[in-house]
């Protein structure tokens, strides 16, 4: 597997909304390439007709009665907000 390029690392970082310094990008090219190269050994496995395992449990949908119960108060829900105003989370404008 070829070494990841800086462009590929930048693309993945965009998907993850993750700011990276030039130094971090360089290091990640190297480290992710090494990890992915190691991980490629799973391609040795024949997985035809093998179902993917998504959970350790045999559970399907778990339903509960749709009944009201107390939740967090508005004050509790906003208490950890970096910025709040008039009972809302406050963010920078996202529309012109």
């Amino acid at each position: 597997m070829p070494r990841l390029s800086v462009q590929e690392v930048e693309y993945i970082a965009q998907l993850a909304r993750l700011g990276l310094s030039d130094e971090e990008k360089e290091l990640l090219c190297e480290q992710l390439s090494a990890i992915l190269e190691y991980a490629a050994i799973i391609n040795q496995l024949d997985t035809h007709n093998v179902e993917p395992m998504t959970s350790a449990l045999p559970l399907r949908n778990v339903m509960r009665p749709d009944s009201a119960a107390p939740g967090l108060t508005l004050d509790e829900a906003l208490r950890n907000a970096p910025a709040a105003q008039d009972g809302h989370f406050r963010v920078q404008a996202i529309l012109e």
Partner: protein, 488 residues
Amino acid sequence: MPTSELCDLSIYVARERLRQRALSALELTRVHLERIAALDSQLHAYITVTAEVALEQARQADERLARGDDAPLLGIPLAIKDVICTRGVRTTCGSRILEHFVPPYDATVVTRLHEAGAVLLGKTNTDEFAMGSSTEHSAFFPTANPWDLERVPGGSSGGSAAAVAAGCAMGALGSDTGGSVRQPAALCGVVGLKPTYGRVSRYGLVAHGSSLDQIGVLTRDVRDAALLLRVVAGHDPRDATSLDAPVSDYVQELGDGADLCGVKVGVPREYFISGIEAGVESAVREALHVMEEAGAELIEVSLPHTQYGIPIYYLIATAEASSNLARYDGVRYGLRVEDTDMWRTFFRTRALGFGREVKRRIMLGTYALSAGYYDAYYLKAQKARTLLRQDFERALAEVDVLACPTTPGVAFRIGQKLDDPLQMYLSDVFTVSLNLVGMCGISVPCGFVEGLPVGLQLMGPPLGESTLLRIAYAYQQRTNWHTYRPPL
């Protein structure tokens, strides 16, 4: 340094003394707080010490004891890993991004500990978001191993393991996504139990890898692990993946530990490989011999997909983590570092809020889930995970438990593996498979190599906790490794 024999008691014995009123919860809590004050500047096991909360809870416990209340952990001082939410007590996950986060609710396990009468000493150090094998990836400071302060305690529940080993808590909760309870237990010479996936509610455990995460217990002996598990285990309507199965009386089911007659112990040959340190292998072989002398039948078994465990784990765990950590965007809680617009604020907040291991895993997981690579990495890993589970099902159809080393080596030096993430990941080789297959396991002390503890791992089938504990208890009746204490 105040040495107090009270900090060395088992939970079980302390309970008896508290009930007989030969000891007060306040005194027991005070000596623990004093010991933390004396030792934690060297150990750094705690991120937050909740002295006032602890003293108040101890007073309440003493009142309940005076009334004849018989709650199972009344007055017992415990520590909780800082990835488990505690109402009104800062819960950082070892991360800058949650440095000032104060949860508005308790995790279900915390509610259960409160109801059982436990006293909260504080929140213990962890690799950031429980991602790591050494506790060096905490955003605040590394934790030292009580057996050698130059070495790591393991991770990610390294703070909990170090606190229990050093007598700075009678027991602790940790979380185990790929070995994060069992590995630090092994490296610090204590008992660490990872229950079956779904046995303990994850409500209020900050999510890392949701199909793998499970809260576990760390104690100095097996009986205490049984006691703690009995309190925290059980169905919780707030966690849809928690199992609706009855909880056994794990303490009673330990039995007398007299022998292991009729017990079949599987020895997986792939867990005794060339990379394992010689001293670790001989300590574990000796433990197997002890079990055989106690009447157990040793049967060699094979888990042929073992070598694929690490790549499967690091693809699936990072994929799940990258998705779970998308919530840290600086909007509703946690750090926000404002930039010129909201879009740039997301990037800057996450750039400054996350440490390098978390960034590495978000990147790896995002890559494994991205268009064009999903089938080759994530889906392939999930199919391979099925093969791994079939290995365990086949082996456990023949034997009661599997026995092997918990780790390939003893505690390594602080800094030794920090710059080589792949080497760090490989140190989890004997623990990750169990999370992938969702079964239960325990690490118990089984010897030392040059003064550093070695762990014996027992792995059992889904809901096999009673069996694991019973076998581990019988082993502990015949050995005294769990009675050694670090030279602090």
